[in-house]
Amino acid sequence: MPRLSIEDLKRIREDAKQAMNLRAGTARAKVTVHMGTCGISAGARDVMGALLKEIEKQNLTDVIVTTSGCAGLCSREPMATVELTGQPPVKYVDLKPERMVRILKQHVLEGRIVSEFALASGCETTG
């Protein structure tokens, strides 16, 4: 990988912003599984595994799966955030592999939030 100049870094920033911005992409949704130590010890790896397996089974190519750190509410891990293109992200709590699969089917594919495990929608307050 080449070493960057300041201009290169600015270019990467613009490209990466585009890539992270669902509106610009062709993906229908992004699912973030929160993988801090708390999430992993509560079973986030199994949740992620089940999600990837189902995506492969259904041959979905327009759902982005990614990981991130702790979402803050450790007592409700494993957690995941589902963001449909053009809609505010929805945070799910108390996940299990079968619940994650249900969320994929009902929320990601059919657009109906699974309120049983949904905590809230939107982002946190930053400084």
Partner: protein, 409 residues
């Protein structure tokens, strides 16, 4: 004269990253052009909790909610909405068709009183991808520090921000940096910068979570610190019990090296700096700075008397500037957004001296017998009552409040 309309432009970190400052400036320019600036006021607000659709602009008293308003939209928006009184549909937020059955995150008590600065990227970026960090304006603080600021100016900015050591000591970071820089120049010995990630207090996992969620924020803070102090060598001393944090840190460092953000000629400048990760062996005392430095040297990790300061004689008798993980993670945003912004959060007045108050936010692990346990970030000066009863949701099963322990063990 009173304004007839207030335009709230979100200036939370998410929207700023989406160039909301440029939007606000463009709106102001257009209002002046149209002679509306005495009737319509632009106000930069804190985060509206809707970062995915930023920059967010809310018009009051109309209650119109606009999303992704760019500078280029300003002329049209001002003409249509503020001159002709026709809200612009194209920029309005349209809620999903089926009414959302769940509340907004910012209305959930656990999240409502939190304010994320250090944890701004928690749960939002992939900590193993440097491009994710760069996308949310990562390393722009470093660019500013390298191209627009002298080391002395960086130190002044940190001093004026009122940032105090987050490891517990609360020593003003800017003064520590300044003392270390001066000692290095005076003695003509190369200084080192150190990050203390040997978080050992039972129940504490703030630093672990910061590294796991956003390792590059710590690395960027250290590079900026190294520029200010004049160091080429850096260490992160991290405890053995944090394998995931350590692994993510190593990955992040390698990515930063590959991009030329560490090593020689950083971003094509003359700066040289690299960071080595050193794993502790599980001794609680090694979280104390002099014991930590002894351990770094390969000696028995025992504290020494502190009448000789480590900023003058620390690691291998070199001037050594040690800060905690959370302290470092604050640095990029302070450089990016300025000391005044940081000092606007917290208590007291730090404009005269950094001991005059306590600026910014603090991350806490909220654990024990409360309903909501987890990792929280709150403005300095918040009451324990708010933390225990509002954020923590009170005591389980209606139990009676007996005691709360703050800080370490």
């Amino acid at each position: 004269m009173a304004y007839r309309t207030h335009v709230l432009v979100c200036a939370g970190t998410g929207c700023v990253s989406g160039k909301s400052y440029a939007t606000a400036k463009a709106l102001e320019g257009e209002l002046v052009k149209r002679g509306l600036d005495s009737e319509v006021q632009i106000i930069r607000t804190g985060c509206q909790g809707f970062c995915a659709e930023g920059p967010i602009v809310i018009v009051q008293p109309d209650g119109v909610f606009y999303r992704t308003v760019q500078a280029k939209d300003a002329a049209f928006l001002v003409e249509e909405h503020f001159l002709k009184g026709r809200p612009v549909k194209r920029l309005m937020y349209t809620p999903p068709l089926d009414k959302s059955p769940i509340p907004a995150l910012k209305d959930i008590p656990f999240f409502a009183k939190q304010k994320l600065v250090v944890l701004r990227n928690r749960g939002a970026i992939d900590p193993e991808k440097i491009d994710d960090y760069i996308a949310v304006d990562g390393y722009t603080g470093l660019i500013k520090a390298l191209t627009e600021m002298t080391p002395e100016q960086i130190i002044q900015e940190i001093k004026r921000s009122g940032l105090r050591g987050r490891g517990g000591g609360g020593f003003p970071a800017g003064i520590k940096w300044e003392t270390c820089r001066k000692a290095a120049i005076h003695r003509n010995v190369e200084p080192v910068v150190i990050c203390n990630a040997d978080e050992g207090d039972p129940g504490a996992f703030m630093d672990r979570s910061i590294i796991e969620s956003d390792p590059h924020s710590v690395i960027e803070g250290m590079i900026i610190g190294a520029r200010a102090i004049g160091a080429r060598d850096g260490f992160i001393y991290i405890r053995h019990e944090y394998p995931i944090a350590r692994e993510r840190l190593q990955k992040a460092l390698q990515q930063a090296r590959d991009y030329g953000l560490l090593g020689k000629e950083i971003l094509d400048t003359k700066m040289e700096f690299d960071i080595e990760v050193v794993q502790g062996a599980g001794a609680f005392v090694c979280g104390e700075s002099t014991a930590l430095m002894a351990s770094l040297e390969g000696k028995v990790g025992e504290p020494r008397a502190k009448y000789i300061h480590t900023v003058e004689y620390g690691y291998k008798d070199r001037p050594s500037n040690l800060n905690n993980v959370e302290t470092w993670a604050n640095v990029p945003l302070i450089i990016n957004r300025g000391a005044e912004w940081f000092a606007s959060m917290g208590t007291g007045n730090v404009s005269e001296n950094p001991w005059g108050g306590s600026s910014g936010t603090k991350v806490f692990s909220l654990v024990g017998k409360v309903n909501n346990t987890g990792l929280i970030e709150v403005p300095m000066g918040i009451s324990l009552r708010e933390i225990v009863f509002d954020i923590g949701g009170g005591i389980p099963a209606g139990g009676k409040f007996k005691a709360v322990q703050t800080g370490g063990p």
